[in-house]
């Protein structure tokens, strides 16, 4: 661990990182636009310049060099002494800020970036309060560069982060800088719009309001949003994200830095795949079918309803005739509580891991990586927690069935009762399951959308989307990652954890931590969570 | 044929006249009988008090407006004189809310209790002395303008008016609301405390006049002059305690709006709330009537000897009018005080009663007893009264502490240890 001296203070830092990164990690704030830890370093914005001590070529004594060095391009070295608190550095910062703001329109009130804009932050912290620019400002056009992205060219600060992202991470290289000097602009090539599966990230890394998300455009001001640390449920990669919500509605998802899993990125499929949370077709009433009639009991009656019904089945057909189909969309805590509870009533109940939807193949980025390790993966397995369910089933032991075996046994009328959990945003019930359902006497369906399973079910338990729940998912690499609820459940629904906890017979109120502690006694693996390190302000 | 008809007609007219005469006689007999007269008078007083209370509320609103440079209610009728009717209608038509978790029986009972208690006190007030109807013989017993002439009139008033605290406490308790309950507790403590000096004042008056009958007290004053001359401080203290008993400013801690929302009647609405108000104003009228009887010469007017001695119905009416006018003046005084003096703090209230009023009035009772025993002139008590007041003032100055419990500054408190 090298030690460097910044403004007279010694800080310890990781090896082989730029000074800028070291200062940011130590809690300092150095203005920068072009530097992004996930991209190559171009040192083009000149905002992070610093003074450095170097040997005077004549006297060989260590002295502050007359010129400034970009701190993003200078790697740390043990004993290196730099300073940011000098007039020279500060002058550079103010002057750079003035240049950045020369042609920047003052339309913060209608700019979606306002509130999380680096230009605003740095202007407040390092800039001047007035502009000396008296000429009319350059006005560049608003450009529609892709299906999900808009480009407001006049807000651009030419940091080239988006260009580098498309080249280095997405590997598609649609964006480029055209023209030079004050006429330089970001643009796409004629006839080649920005259409890669990671294009949402260029909006995230744009430090100003130049690249904006069409989906979120003009919807909300960012300071109204409340962020919850979550994990994307779109595929088994387990990208950590924040769910940004206001007044019970999810407005957008943003990636959360998580080294080794998704780094700084997330795919568009996950980013824009939350719309089903607010789908009006969602199940929102606890329903019990009595013959042809539907009954809507109160949630507090649920434990009694399911216990009595399962017990009567166990009495009639034996404990082995009960099966629980755990969905890979469930959180580990929920799956564990459900399985444990059913095992209490029917100790020989079979645990089944539900079908995991597979779409295409795993996709690695950058495209055409020439054998280099992938920087980002989109998984073909479109469910967040298959590994977790498998861990729970293995951890609990006892009779287990694969999904195909379950279908076969149901077809042979060996299953009298099944608690089937869905939760997939897409249609997931195959023909074989539809056929098998006819042979199961008692189906308890827990799902978010009406399906063939809920049609055949005696008890329909409306489930919540992942944005309304909390718990943990185990991603494809076996990393156990916790996630929090971003919003309250939609009207009529309850958090799956809450009612399963009541059914399970837990004391007090449900919290994922409490259940996880119980699980860890059975399965020590759940005592170790993968939580990404906290990210300093203005870190990327 | 026509003659028969006319004759029948005459006969009919004659019998109608006879029937009328019979009816008149019956009415006269009823009015000449003290029992029935008292019942009639009771009804008249009841109705009169209700009207008076309604207009007392209007008067209060007017006076409060005038003292604050406003006009007060002036939209319903000329100068707002029909406002009480509008208010009454409003109270009747409003939704009567009974909150969910109240003690329902007590909640409904409390306002009626306080209302009835406030009204029964009027029974022993001598409104206008005694008189004889024109048609009565000279030897007949004169009629007494009083619903009930009982030997323990004054005790009756004291007993009944102290019952009114039950209404307040029950209302506060039944409301199941902490503010109501606070109000009720305060009211209870306050009323109990102020009954002590009130009783002392009354005792002095009873010793002086030698009777518990209010009408005899008035008669005594007819012979000796108004009792307030002999006991000015007792009269003042009685007035103060009457304010406290009626929960009027500056003693309205039971319903102090700034602290307790509405005190014991926070949860009440519509007719039940109206009953609380009626009771408060009725109480004011009773206590004024009592004070007037005891200290301010009842229906007497100094210099108008004929008023007391003339036994005609007309003179009785004038006496009632004089009495009513005195009550009106007292009510005005009550209201004026409400808009003049700010509310006491609770400790000040208690201090005033137990450390100020009780010792003073005890001295007065002792002095009055001594005067009676030694056979000194009644004017001695006047001197004692003035002496007590000045001594109280001297003590408060010399003791460095005002009777009302003014807080010392920190430095002085430290210096005094």
């Amino acid at each position: 661990m090298p030690k460097i001296i910044v403004d007279g203070k010694e800080i310890e830092c990781r090896d082989k990182i730029p000074v800028l990164q070291a200062v940011l990690e130590a809690g300092g704030d150095v203005p920068h636009y072009c530097y992004h830890p996930g991209l190559s370093i171009v040192a083009s914005c000149r905002l992070c310049l610093m003074e450095m001590k170097m040997p005077n070529p004549k006297t060989k004594a260590m002295e502050w060099t007359p010129r400034l060095f970009p701190s993003c391009q200078t790697p740390v070295k043990d004993g290196l002494e730099v300073r940011f608190e000098s007039d020279k550095v500060k002058d550079n910062q103010t002057h750079c800020m003035e240049y950045f703001l020369l042609n920047h329109p003052l339309d913060c009130p209608v700019c979606d970036q306002a509130g999380e804009c680096y230009l605003q932050d740095y202007s407040l912290k390092f800039g001047e309060s007035t502009s000396r620019m008296v000429e009319p400002k350059n006005k560049n056009p608003k450009k529609d560069i892709g299906s999900k992205t808009l480009l407001y060219a006049d807000r651009c600060v030419m940091c080239s982060r988006c260009v580098r992202f498309c080249n280095e991470v997405a590997g598609t290289g649609e964006l480029a800088i055209i023209n030079r000097g004050s006429r330089a602009e970001i643009d796409v090539f004629p006839g080649v719009p920005l259409e890669n599966k990671l294009q949402g990230n260029v909006v995230d890394i744009c430090p100003v309001g130049c690249l904006l998300d069409k989906d979120f455009l003009m919807q909300q001001r960012v300071w109204f949003l409340k962020s919850a640390d979550s994990v994307c449920a779109g595929c088994s990669a387990g990208c950590t994200i924040t769910v940004d919500a206001n007044e019970g509605k999810v407005w957008r998802l943003k990636p959360r830095y998580n080294p080794g899993v998704n780094d700084w990125w997330m795919c568009d499929e996950g980013r824009f795949g939350f719309k089903y949370v607010h789908d009006p077709r969602r199940l929102n009433r606890l329903t019990v079918r009595r013959g042809a009639e539907l009954d809507y009991p109160d949630w507090s009656a649920l434990p009694e309803i399911v216990t009595l019904r399962l017990e009567s089945v166990v009495k009639k057909d034996g404990a082995g005739s009960v099966a629980v189909v755990l969905s890979p969309f469930m959180a580990c805590e929920e799956a564990w509580m459900l399985a444990s509870m059913v095992r209490c009533i029917a100790p020989q109940a079979a645990l089944v891991c539900g079908p995991a939807p597979m779409v295409g193949e795993d996709e690695a980025f950058p495209k055409g990586g020439n054998g280099h390790p992938a920087k980002f993966m989109i998984r073909a397995e479109k469910c967040p927690n298959k590994r977790g369910i498998e861990m729970i089933i293995a951890g609990l032991g006892g009779p287990t069935l694969s999904f195909t075996d379950f279908l076969k046994q149901a077809g042979e009328k060996k299953i009298a009762a099944a608690w089937i959990v869905g939760g997939s945003p897409t249609e997931w019930v195959g023909d074989d399951l539809k056929k098998a359902l006819g042979h199961i006497a008692l189906v308890i369906a827990q799902d978010i959308f009406p399906s063939a399973v809920t049609d055949a079910a005696t008890v329909i338990v409306p489930s919540c989307s992942w944005a309304e729940r909390s718990g943990c998912f185990v991603n494809v690499d076996g990393k156990i990652q916790p996630f929090e609820a971003g919003i309250n459940p939609i009207e009529g629904c309850q958090r799956d954890g809450n009612y399963l906890y009541a059914v399970f017979g837990g004391e007090g109120l449900y919290s994922a931590e409490k259940v996880r502690a119980l699980m860890a006694k059975q399965m020590p693996a759940f005592g170790q969570l993968h939580v990404p390190p906290p990210v300093p302000e203005h870190a990327h | 044929m026509g003659g028969i008809q006319v004759g029948n007609l005459c006969h009919n007219v004659g019998s109608a006249a006879r029937t009328m005469m019979d009816t008149m006689d019956a009415i006269r007999n009823i009015l000449a009988d003290q029992f029935w007269f008292s019942i009639v008078l009771g009804l008249v007083v009841f109705g009169g008090i209700q009207g008076a209370v309604a207009y007392a509320i209007l008067l209060e609103r007017k006076i409060s407006a005038w003292t604050q440079d406003r006009y007060g209610p002036n939209r319903v009728g000329p100068y707002g004189i029909l406002q009480p009717i509008a208010d009454g209608l409003k109270f009747f038509l409003k939704e009567d809310i009974i909150p969910a978790n109240v003690d329902k029986a007590l909640f409904i009972f409390a306002p009626w209790m306080i209302f009835v208690v406030a009204l029964v006190g009027f029974a022993v007030i001598p409104w206008g002395g005694s008189f004889k109807w024109g048609w009565m013989e000279a030897t007949a017993k004169p009629m007494v303008v009083q619903v009930a002439s009982v030997d323990i009139g004054l005790l009756y008033i004291v007993a009944v008016s102290s019952l009114s605290v039950y209404g307040v406490v029950l209302g506060g308790w039944a409301s199941n609301n902490k503010y109501s309950f606070y109000g009720a507790i305060r009211a209870a403590a306050q009323m109990l405390s102020y009954e002590v000096p009130m009783g002392m004042c009354l005792m002095a008056a009873i010793l002086m006049t030698g009777s518990l009958r209010l009408e005899e007290m008035v008669d005594w004053q007819a012979r000796h002059g108004w009792a307030v001359m002999y006991h000015p401080i007792a009269a003042l203290v009685l007035f103060i305690t009457a304010l406290a008993e009626a929960n009027r400013m500056p003693f309205d801690l039971a319903e102090s709006e700034q602290e307790l929302i509405g005190g014991y009647h926070t949860e009440y609405s519509a007719l039940k709330l109206a009953l609380f108000f009626l009771a408060e104003y009725s109480h004011m009228i009773t206590s004024s009537a009592m004070m007037i009887c005891i200290f301010f010469g009842g229906y007497l007017v100094p210099g108008w000897e004929w008023l007391n001695t003339t036994p005609t119905f007309g003179a009785a009416l004038v006496r009632v009018a004089v009495f009513a006018f005195k009550i009106f003046l007292f009510i005005c005084l009550y209201m004026l005080i409400r808009w003049t003096i700010p509310r006491f703090r609770f400790d000040q209230l208690m201090r005033l009663a137990w450390k100020g009023l009780v010792p003073m009035t005890m001295t007065l009772v002792a002095a009055q007893g001594l005067v009676l025993y030694m056979g000194w002139s009644q004017w001695t008590t006047t001197a004692v009264n003035i002496g007590v007041f000045l001594f109280g003032g001297f003590v408060s100055v010399a003791g460095g502490k005002a009777v009302t419990g003014r807080q010392l500054s920190l430095r002085r408190a430290e210096a005094m240890g």
Binding site: P109, V110, R221 | R70, L336, T340, V397, L408
Partner: protein, 183 residues
């Protein structure tokens, strides 16, 4: 850990309550003094004739430029809503009574405009922060204060209603900065 106080003992100024005089201590004379004041006001008809405004018949003289009554949404010189849906008023509003939904504007010279602009006039505390916050002077408080409605829903003023208030009051109180057109 005890933080060192940043004040000295000598900084404390003891303020004594003024000593009571003899008459004040005896209480009664002061009460008569107070009643004199009360009575004086009671019998001075002139005072109330001067101060009271008999509301529905008479009306107060308002300073129209500063009075904070019901809101209006200003129109620009082309009759379009001047609001740019920047949500600044919604952000500044301490009563949370403003609800805006923004959208891309149909006009070439403007970026954003409100497709919905609701003010809950019952929730509003008429503090005028929205007017302060507005960067284009689109929302203003008018001198209209006689605000009545039959239901709560009726008192949630939408964009049309607020624009109508502008049409109604623009002669009485012209727009402060008619030159600001938006972004």
């Amino acid at each position: 850990m005890t933080a060192k106080p940043d004040w000295k003992q000598t900084d404390i100024i003891h303020v004594d309550q003024p000593e009571l005089s003899m008459t004040e201590r005896m209480y009664l004379p002061q009460i008569f003094g107070g009643m004199k004041t009360t009575l004086r006001h009671m019998f001075k008809k002139k005072l109330r004739d001067e101060t009271v405004v008999q509301y529905p018949e008479q009306k107060r003289q308002l300073r129209k430029e500063i009075y904070r009554g019901v809101h209006r949404l200003n129109r620009d010189d082309q009759g379009r809503v001047a609001c740019v849906a920047c949500f600044m008023c919604e952000t500044a509003c301490p009563a949370h009574c403003i609800h805006i939904e923004g959208a891309e504007s149909p006009w070439p010279d403007r970026e954003k405009y409100p497709i919905k602009f609701d003010i809950d006039e019952l929730r509003c505390i008429y503090c005028g922060m929205c007017e302060e916050a507005c960067p284009v002077d689109a929302i203003e408080l008018t001198p209209e204060y006689h605000l009545v409605g039959g239901s709560r829903e009726e008192m949630i003023f939408d964009k049309e209603k607020l624009l109508n208030i502008f049409d109604r009051t623009k002669d009485e109180k012209p727009r402060k900065n008619p030159n600001i057109t938006g972004y």
